[in-house]
């Protein structure tokens, strides 16, 4: 029996591996198209950024001689292959990006990769905290609403969900910031209090971090939570109307087992795949909320870079965000295949 069971597990593993490999291969064209679009967009502003870059340098180092000016222009043209055809420029940009060479930020005078290494982890941390918040609030409320369909509590939760969907997140951020600052007397804005700024991670630092980001997490999560409540509620109601639910009751299962073990499990599948759907809005939310609250994540960096046409910085941030989404989608697919055996075979 042990042997045969082993056979079954191996079979499933093989299916999973083929599934993952197939999805990975499928990501390659998507990645290429996305990166090309990003490259195209960051090149859109009509101004000559080489000239601006040299002007920036001149502000720091004093005016250049015209010879030095030409030389700098030439160096930059070399480095970013600007004298080559458009497609080749793109090709070298994306190859360098994949190798980790993301170019230099004109504004900060630093390698983009160094800047990103400092900022991106916080973006991801805040997005994941928001995701956790969204799931842990949205799923239970959605289940509760479906099981109490059309009762007062369901109606209230539905309307509250709609209101959550309808508040612009920058506006909610403003209101919660005022609330936190003047009513709760909590620090607002930034990521850490000064005493923890450069300290190594500790429990105290983590608590300080949470105190700083809770407004952001709640704001980013609000719209998503409302969405999840709707989806979970709708799915669960659909599933509860399926014939197999009646069949399960006919087996004599306790109602709790029917709803929790069977109905809920199936109805949250789309919520897990929905990860691909929630992530873009989480990242959008994270971007604007960080800008509003001045949290040093990738959001404000991107915003600044776009405004100053710091194109290698903005392009790299956009690419990293897109990659983050692609990976999130992949993980969601894998999770779904794990939960729902039907998917593995399609």
């Amino acid at each position: 029996m042990g042997e045969r069971l082993g056979g079954k597990d191996w079979d499933e593993e093989l299916q999973m591996i083929t599934f993952i490999v197939r999805r990975l291969l499928g990501m390659i064209p998507t990645f290429l198209v996305v990166s090309f679009i990003v490259f195209f967009i960051i090149q859109l502003p009509p101004s000559n950024w080489i000239e601006r870059h040299i002007e920036n340098l001149a502000l720091e180092q004093g005016t250049f001689t015209s010879e030095r000016h030409l030389q700098l222009a030439h160096e930059l043209t070399e480095r970013y292959n600007l004298d080559r055809p458009y497609l080749l420029q793109y090709g070298s940009w994306i190859l360098n990006f994949l190798r980790g060479d993301m170019g230099e930020s004109f504004e900060y005078g630093q390698e983009v990769s160094v800047l990103l290494a400092k900022r991106i982890p916080y973006s991801i941390m805040i997005s994941l905290l928001s995701l956790f918040f969204v799931y842990s609030i949205g799923i239970p409320i959605g289940i509760y609403c479906a099981l109490n369909q059309n009762k007062i509590s369901d109606t209230i939760a539905t309307i509250a969900g709609f209101i959550g969907l309808s508040i612009p997140n920058f506006f909610l951020a403003l209101i919660l910031m005022v609330f936190g600052l003047y009513v709760l007397d909590l620090p607002v804005g930034g990521l850490f209090s000064p005493e923890y700024e450069d300290a190594p991670w500790s429990f105290g630092k983590f608590i300080d971090f949470l105190q700083h980001v809770w407004v952001a997490v709640v704001v980013i999560g609000t719209a998503g939570t409302a969405g999840i409540i709707r989806v979970v509620r709708g799915n669960l109601l659909d599933v509860l109307g399926e014939p197999y639910i009646t069949a399960l009751r006919a087996k004599g299962l306790p109602e709790k087992m029917v709803t929790i073990k069977h109905a809920v499990r199936i109805s949250i599948n789309p919520v897990i795949t929905g990860l691909g759907m929630w992530l873009p809005s989480l990242i959008s939310g994270e971007t604007i909320v960080s800008i509003v609250m001045n949290i040093p994540t990738a959001g404000p960096l991107l915003f600044g870079a776009l405004q100053s046409e710091d194109i290698y910085l903005s392009g790299s941030i956009l690419m990293v965000l897109c990659l983050f989404l692609l990976i999130g989608n992949l993980l969601a697919d894998i999770a779904l295949a794990w939960f729902d055996p039907r998917i593995r075979y399609d």
């Binding site: 709609f162 309808s166 920058f170 939310g285 604007i288 991107l302």
Partner: protein, 362 residues
Amino acid sequence: MTENQEQGRTIGQLIWRRFRKNKLGVVGGLVVALLFFITVIAPFLATMDIVEQSARHILAPPQKIYFQSEEGEWRRPYVYNLIKHRDPDTLRLMYTEDRSQQFPIRFFVKGLEYRILWLISGRTHLLGVDEGCRWNLLGTDPLGRDLYSRILMGSQVSLSVPLVGVSLSILIGTVIGVISGYLGGRVDHYIQRTIEIMMSFPTLPLWLALAAAIPITLPSAYRYLLIVVILSLIDWGGLARVVRGKVLQYRGEDYVLAARMSGCGLFRIIFKHLVPGTLSHLIVCATLSVPGMILAESALSFLGIGITPPLTSWGMLLKDAHKLEVLVYHHWIMIPGFLIIVAVLSFNFLGDGLRDAADPYS
């Protein structure tokens, strides 16, 4: 029996009957209608020029409207002028009423010339006060401009951007969706892949990038148009998918096959037979994508890369609230935020009601 009765009605009548039962949807619809009505007649309702600045009225609070004289007699509503000064200790702006003169609120006063819908021009405004008083019904912004008038005129941008944007999305979405669904095969495959890729972009960063690419020097009206284009460029994918799904469904139906057999041209089939079938879904989809557009425009304008002056919008008005100290002591500048919530909420209710009415099984 009732089945037969229901079959006797048109789809439109059926949807309308089901929609009427949804109270939230009906309320949403009414509020949306009211908002648009107000938007159209905004210049008539506005009391002041929206660009007129006044150093003596920086961040002035809404004036109190009195219905009784100081002696307690009832009389025509009136307001007092406000006088600015600073609190000697905190140096904060303070306003006190100038009780020396009362300014009654009058109806149908002559003022700034305006046009409604490019058609009706006039100088009559619904409300106003006599010369010598600056009446700010909802207070002023940090440049001393009248918030009430700015909110009204801002609504023209805030509510027209989603409307124009969604129309554009419908146009692009329908054309591409019909092509994708009707032609099928390779074309369909590539279009669907493209839409998938578009939908996997983080929308706000992409909007930021595109909006930042619009030259700042561009006139306000062009910028408005480009913002609309940007918003619908990212939005049409969902609509195209709905249309494609419906076209695929209807393509196999007998009446479409019959039309093909009888030699109908491609476009005739599409516009005579396929588009009407998808119309109700299209309307629902469009209504549901309006809230996203309102929110997107307000976010971009809030960040300063959306609409530019002299035009204004609710999101742009909220820019002043970004400074928390301003927000805390001058809470009236949050009013546009609540209007955004009301507008988005109403569209959500309306769209949700329409969706349930058009498709009771989803």
